[in-house]
């Protein structure tokens, strides 16, 4: 257990100050539920100002959307409770699905709209004429809370996103450097423990969240563009490094010496990448070295020579990518007198924004949430429980919050447990402590102790969710209003209903979603095989950027799941990525080849497509068939002796494909031409 730092205390004070400001304004305006304004502050507070602002803006929009829907729906359907329940369920499910499709902070709009409707509509069913007042009051309360939160976050020691991103990318590049060094010159740098390459992929996805929040920072737009460009190049580094490490293993198999010249080059590149003081300009010298080496590698028809030549070309790519990364990193960290941004690596479009979505699982989550809300409403109608609205509402919130998870049940369990704790805490405060306060100042002093302590836990990733639940729920359950009228029966009835709703959501999830990470992993891997089969089969439009960014995105999603399930018997995620890149390369470079070559390369691509088709049909089918290797070797023998650009590119792609699919296979032998 580590103690909160000064920074955590600062954050906690800011959040508490903003929430009390919101409470004061809401009380002064005479809004019916001032505590919603107070709770809203805690919902959006985040140590980074940009994150608070983006959440705040989207929360207002989402609340308005949900409130408008409530105003329209309730008067229409109030006399047909079953229909109303169905409509609410359908609305929540639909908006939840839309919010799952968007992985930027914008998703928050739809998430809020999804659960704001039940929040406003359900309590209004007994008095439908009040629905407009409830909706308008809730919108105003949220608005007051959010304005306080954003103003305080922006004015008092704002936490900027840019330095955080710059620190993250610097750390990421250090990790990537140690992987690169480990690949190029094994045993050169044993002091640094090579970081898991899987973590590198997962970290890129985490960075996406930060980059999307950067746009809301009180900063210039340049930073966002640099961060996006850097992110694109970072994700390009992964397949390049992964492929290089595969080729290096082949080259070093059985302790053979590297082809001449490669060794020195590797050493120099490693030195440059590892040294913290290296500048992008230094890459030019290394690229000249790569050029010189190209003239010395003989065009012999040997497997090892082909490997060496491919390696050399990929080292060139690595140098260019690394130059760009260093340059962008300098720009991001705000170093003075940096050259204006001109990309060095221009071979590929790295900024593709395509994402992989598992529509099946998303649809299931969304439909499941709507059915659970409908079922909750039916139970409530059947029991005729007066406070049932609170139960269904909190159940809906719980299902929406965690819908994006593979296995929401543990999270909903946490939600339930901490809801109970919040009820206990607010009961103690409401009936033992707050009666002692006679004015607002006294009330603030009494609230300060618990809220400041809980607030320090919000910035800590381990406690973030628990602290969030505690602060928001306690603020809500306290139900601070203009006059003190705590009534024990009403308090317990209303709040136990909330706990019952969370419990219902938990049971519902346990029953309907017994599967989780395993299924998601399985579907991700299968989706990548399908993509590969289509790409190699030439069925997809040859949109390089879209396909490659989708494959990278899938890798990023797959990695944390592989780590969680600890089962990589299917795939390590990287092999598919490398095969995909090679297939795309071959299709690109087909254009400049003769008919004979194209025919043999088509045979290779057909073989790759067939292999992955077979894997989809039977996932235990692991090894690529020998016939495919024979086809690759045939195609290689055609292009290996030529020096034109297209043949060279095709050879490199074939070599990489062979290394990815047949690691450790006996080397390629030129078939003697009779």
């Amino acid at each position: 257990m580590h103690w909160p730092t000064a920074r955590d205390w600062l954050f906690s004070f800011k959040a508490f100050f903003a929430s009390m400001l919101a409470l004061y304004i809401a009380l002064a305006l005479g809004l019916p539920r001032p505590y919603w304004a107070m709770a809203a502050v805690y919902v959006v507070s985040h140590p980074l100002t940009g994150a608070t602002r983006s959440k705040a803006l989207y929360r207002v929009l989402g609340t308005m959307l949900g409130a408008s829907a409530a105003v329209v729906l309730v008067p229409l359907l109030v006399n047909a409770p079953v229909l109303l329940a169905a409509a609410i369920g359908a609305w929540t499910g639909t908006l939840l699905y839309i919010s799952l499709l968007d992985r930027t902070p914008r998703a928050y709009v739809f998430m809020l709209a999804a659960y704001t409707l039940p929040m406003i509509a359900l309590p209004a069913v007994n008095a439908p004429q009040n629905v407009f007042d409830i909706a308008s009051a809730r919108t105003q309360e949220i608005l007051v809370g959010i304005l306080s939160a954003s103003v305080v976050a922006g004015l008092i020691f704002p936490g900027k996103v840019a330095p955080v991103i710059s620190a993250r990318t610097a750390a990421w590049l250090r990790d990537a450097a140690s992987w690169a060094a480990d690949t190029l010159t094994p045993a050169a740098d044993q002091r640094v423990h090579p970081v898991s390459r899987h973590r590198l992929a997962a970290d890129i996805l985490a960075l996406d969240q930060l980059i999307s929040q950067l746009a809301y920072d009180p900063d210039t737009a340049d930073t966002v563009n640099y961060a996006r460009a850097l992110r694109g190049r970072m994700s390009m580094l992964l397949p390049v490094l992964s492929s290089m490490s595969g080729m290096m293993q082949e080259l070093r198999a059985n302790n053979q010496a590297l082809p001449q010249g490669i060794d020195t080059l590797m050493h120099d590149v490693t030195q440059w990448i590892l040294s913290p003081a290296s500048r992008p300009e230094d890459g030019e010298r290394l690229k000249e070295e790569v050029e010189r080496l190209g003239q010395t590698i003989v065009h012999s028809s040997e497997w090892r020579s082909a490997l060496g030549r491919t390696m050399r070309s990929r080292v060139g790519t690595l140098i260019e990518l690394w130059q760009d990364c260093l340059h962008l990193q300098q720009l991001l960290s705000g170093q003075a007198n940096v050259q204006p941004w001109v990309p060095v690596y221009t071979r590929r479009d790295v900024m593709g924004g395509a994402r992989h979505y598992d529509h099946g699982i998303m649809l299931f989550s969304a439909v499941n949430a709507s059915v659970s809300i409908f079922a909750g409403c039916m139970i409530w109608i059947g029991m005729g429980w007066e406070d049932g609205a609170g139960a269904v509402t909190l159940g809906a919130v719980a299902s929406c919050f965690f819908a994006a998870m593979d296995e929401p049940a543990p999270f909903i369990r946490l939600f339930f447990v901490w809801t109970i704790v919040s009820i206990a805490l607010s009961a103690v405060m409401l009936f033992a402590i707050i009666p002692a306060s006679h004015d607002f100042v006294m009330l603030v002093a009494l609230l300060a102790v618990p809220f400041l302590i809980i607030g320090t836990l919000i910035p800590l990733p381990r406690f973030n969710m628990i602290a969030m639940l505690l602060s928001v729920n306690t603020a809500t359950f306290l139900g601070l209003q203009g006059a003190y009228d705590a009534n024990f029966t009403a308090f317990f009835n209303g709040n136990l209903a909330g706990a019952a709703g969370a419990l219902f959501a938990l049971i519902w999830t346990l029953v309907t979603r017994p599967f989780g990470v395993q299924l998601a992993t399985h579907r991700l891997v299968h989706a990548s095989w399908r993509d590969l089969a289509n790409t190699a089969g030439g069925e997809d439009a040859r949109d390089y950027a879209r396909l490659s960014s989708r494959m990278l995105d899938r890798l990023g999603q797959l990695v944390p799941r592989l780590a969680a399930s600890g089962d990589d018997s299917y795939s390590d995620g990287f092999t598919e990525l490398r095969v995909g890149y090679s297939a795309l390369e071959l299709q690109r470079d087909e254009l400049g080849l003769s008919d004979l070559d194209r025919h043999s390369i088509d045979a290779v691509l057909g073989g790759v497509a067939g292999h992955y088709q077979a894997r989809i049909e039977n996932s235990r089918h692991r090894h690529a068939p020998e016939t495919l290797r024979a086809r690759i070797d045939d195609a290689m023998s055609l292009v290996i002796g030529r020096a034109d650009h297209a043949s060279r590119e095709a050879l490199h792609a074939l070599v990489e494909l062979r290394v990815s699919l047949f690691p450790g296979a006996p080397g390629y032998q030129q078939v003697p031409a009779f």
Binding site: T49, G154, L155
Partner: protein, 69 residues
């Protein structure tokens, strides 16, 4: 100068309307200031924006009163 504005039977406080107008005016001003690089001279951007907003709001209210005394 009544304190409320009637929009199809929904009464909203007129101050709210002025605040919304001032918000959009400030947004335009901020865009222009950012384009001409004025913010490089500002020490605390958020504080400056808040002050600017209050000034614009005051100007809006004064202007309305001057037009409709």
């Amino acid at each position: 100068m009544s304190g409320e504005i009637d929009i199809y039977g929904v009464y909203i406080p007129s101050l709210l309307a002025w605040m919304v107008i001032a918000f959009f005016v400030t947004g335009g001003l901020r865009f222009v200031l950012a384009r001409i690089g004025f913010y490089k001279l500002v020490w605390h951007r958020s504080l400056f924006n808040l002050a600017l907003y209050v000034l614009v709001l005051g100007a809006t209210v004064s202007l309305i009163h001057w037009l409709k005394p």
